[in-house]
Symmetry: C2
Subunit: 495 residues, 2 copies
């Protein structure tokens, strides 16, 4: 039986609890495997077995049956590759809803959409700062011996496009993108290897007005999906805090990106491990103490005391909070100097969205990166932006019961009551569709009872029956499924 | 200078004529490189040089400057990987327009959207019928020694999802997808390595009503983008024609898929080469003659004469044309038995969209594939569908001057007239955005002249000026850019 055979390959996977990256994920173990939140199922064992079978199929060509690569060992693995997701229609409706919200916010802010290939030259992502994102690059050599990578993030592609346009690009440019990003890591924790990310970036604005505008967009997204500042907040700081402290202690600027990447792991690996990694980098103990105590400040006043009121960090952040008040989202922001973000390229304000209960990873993150173009060999331009993934926000909405479940629906279901009436029913479906209606045309011989249940399942508002006697009069029967009314109408008046 | 440095890497590419796959492409050589129709530019030489530099960067780590992988040899390659495209905002607006049409037609037909990973297990695509699509598989081994491939088409993933759902999938299922597909070929002709494809598939309907419905959707798409049956048509046949002829000549059914793949190349490689490939496969000369003469029939009457009126091919196609008449798209169809399609898995009706002038490749193609699930080791289910790429349709629309150029536009441009008014302007932008308007907020100190030009460039309908004296009264100045009118209004009444 189909189901039995289906389970042969992925059996072990079904018995494994869902092991997402969030601490709350174990609660979701009972959900449907194919859901938005679900991991690629196949356990190591299952995947290896299946791929071994496929491998044999390739080498022993005689065993391959036409026209596909299925071997004589049974069914192909019906699960997507480890760490990736399928989007069944119910998942896709949710994805379309979320991406629609991303796009609506971007449009409200006057941003233009761009995209770049999911496969880029590896060189675009090679950085040596020890970031998780570049350590886990999904890279390989193509058949032309070129080093390529599935993009781990969208910002380097944006920078490449900006450099490609060069001086012909009108500034400021306000661009957004929604794209799939990939990583490869060998850990067996069951983290996903792909996610979608929404990015908004502003090129050419050097003031914190850019960051304030980006934060306003993040807040608008939160509001649109039903979250309030009691549910989520955005931690804000500036890399200039760390930079000032480091320069006070005489740390050379070359170490800056690496120090940031290490300090970013404070929450994850703890103070002791961060101290030891900073020491390995050659940072002096007194500097480490200074850096980490600056990370524990809780107000801009304390920061001004530490760095002086003329410090750029203090001025930027003070201005940012003023603007936030103007926009009306000040209550969403929290000054937190321990936020430095794990990407090497940030140079100024950095921020990350968080759930107030503190159960999940960062919801989104971003900041200013004024020297990325220069690092690629171009002329620098002020740039700021954020990345907002599709995973944590959905977990959060699910946790709080705010995740919508958009239904599939059509306007009309058209049913020919016998085979000879199919051409007539086709014409009626055509007419309705041209008029802007969504029409499910029943393509097989089905009983009336089936048609009613089918129309109900599709949340149809009408059932249009094409029967022989009415059709002789040029008419069809229209059943209004909300009003439980039915009437015979001329087919050529149907709208 | 930025532009000069930009051109250093891709210089040779700019001098090469655009070499798309269509015979008309040389006409487009003067267009912008980054356009929808444009190829990835970098010539072999340019690409290899750049990647060599990146490779050295990886091995000689000391040469890498923080925080990116840029070497000391200059700018990174700003072109996307060979054979891939960037989507600048103007390209993205066109793509969104086309994908929007794909989705609108699918919705009009009551289809539900799905998606699957762009990266699938290689086994899903391994077939031995000599198809171009599987010969050019963009496959590689991941770091876990798994054979994976960037999907060359969407149908095998659909089949995998259908098998994964098994008997719990309500039939008929009517699904669509819009996804990127990849191929890898070493030829230097400059063909693209990726394109997007729109698929619509019906699972569980065995009659040609399914094919007729799919053809209706293709026709609706053509109509929506402004094409008529004088511009394009759809060639229709059935694999059962070839099958009947082959069985009349006693050819074993195992060769069927391979014969189809060879015969499909008739237009491309010519009769002599097809005859020789069929002979290589062991097909007898008399059979070859029989097959090829059947391919030159021009009417269903001739087909009935050859195969007999009870032949399934004749009955299917007769029924299909009756349904086409019912739908009202009969004039778009052309019976052409030389259409067999180049995919191994088709089993019944096959069709392909073509431009009446015959200048381009097939616009779309599809048909029935009732045995694909079985080939994957599952229970067969009747399936029919089509793939419709994003390349040829755009070429055709461009050729015929019907390609739209959707502009970027916002509703309002909000301009604070001095820095102290930025928080106020931010609040006004917020208010307008919450009210559903698309608002570009000017984030830098700009002159009024710039603001007017900027608003014009963004096709804004209003310019909202936040000036000190009006703001003291709680007012802003609104300029209606269509009516050339201006008035001072209370900020809190602004909508």
């Amino acid at each position: 039986m189909l189901r039995d055979r289906l389970h042969r390959g992925a059996n072990r996977a079904h018995q494994r609890p869902f092991t997402g990256a969030s601490p709350t994920c174990h609660r979701l173990s009972g959900q449907k495997r194919h859901g938005w939140l679900a991991m690629s199922a196949a356990s190591d064992t299952a995947t290896v077995t299946t791929l071994k079978a496929a491998g044999e199929g390739r080498t022993v060509a005689g065993k391959i049956t036409e026209p596909t690569g299925k071997t004589d060992k049974g069914m192909i693995d019906t699960q997507p590759p480890r760490g990736t997701r399928d989007f069944f229609p119910e998942d896709m409706r949710l994805r379309n809803w979320l991406f629609g919200e991303f796009a609506a916010v971007s449009t409200a802010f006057g941003f233009e959409q761009f995209d770049a290939p999911v496969l880029e030259s590896e060189e675009l992502f090679v950085r040596k700062a020890g970031e998780e994102i570049t350590d886990q690059l999904y890279n390989f050599e193509d058949k032309g011996q070129r080093r390529v990578a599935l993009r781990p993030e969208l910002t380097p592609s944006l920078a490449r496009l900006v450099l490609q346009r060069g001086k012909t690009l009108p500034l400021p440019a306000k661009w957004f993108a929604i794209g799939q990003c990939w990583r490869y890591e060998r850990m067996t924790r069951g983290r996903r290897r792909e996610h979608y990310q929404w990015n908004m970036d502003i090129v050419g604005v050097s003031g914190v007005e850019a960051e304030a505008e980006l934060l306003a967009a993040v807040v608008m997204l939160f509001e649109r999906v039903g979250l309030s500042s009691r549910d989520v907040g955005i931690k804000v700081s500036s890399r200039k805090v760390l930079q000032s402290v480091m320069s006070q202690f005489g740390v050379p600027p070359e170490s800056f990106a690496k120090v940031c990447v290490i300090v970013d792991k404070l929450d994850k690996i703890g103070r002791v491990k961060v101290e030891s990694e900073l020491a390995d980098l050659g940072v002096a103990p007194s500097t480490i103490d200074g850096v980490l105590s600056a990370m524990s400040l809780t107000s801009l006043e304390q920061l001004a005391d530490l760095l002086g009121p003329n410090s750029e960090a203090v001025q930027d952040l003070t201005r940012l909070f003023q603007l936030a008040e103007g926009y009306g989202y000040k209550e969403w922001l929290v000054f937190d100097p321990s936020v430095v973000r794990g990407l090497a390229y940030y140079t100024g304000v950095v921020f990350e969205g968080f759930d107030r209960e503190g159960k999940l990873r960062a919801i989104c993150g971003g900041g200013r990166y004024d020297r990325l173009l220069g690092a690629f060999g171009g002329d620098n331009a002020p740039m700021a932006g954020f990345g907002f993934g599709d995973a944590v926000i959905v977990e959060l909405l699910k946790e709080s019961g705010k995740l919508p479940a958009p239904p599939h629906r059509v306007d009309d279901v058209v049913v020919p009551l016998d085979a000879s009436l199919r051409p007539a029913a086709s014409g009626i479906a055509s007419r309705l569709r041209r008029g802007g209606r969504s029409v499910d045309l029943v393509l097989e011989a089905k009983k009336m009872k089936w048609a009613f249940k089918h129309a109900e399942k599709l949340n149809a508002s009408r059932l249009v029956l094409v029967g022989a006697s009415e059709w002789e009069r040029g008419n069809v029967v229209v059943k209004d499924l909300a009003k439980f009314e039915q009437m015979e109408v001329p087919a050529d008046s149907l709208v």
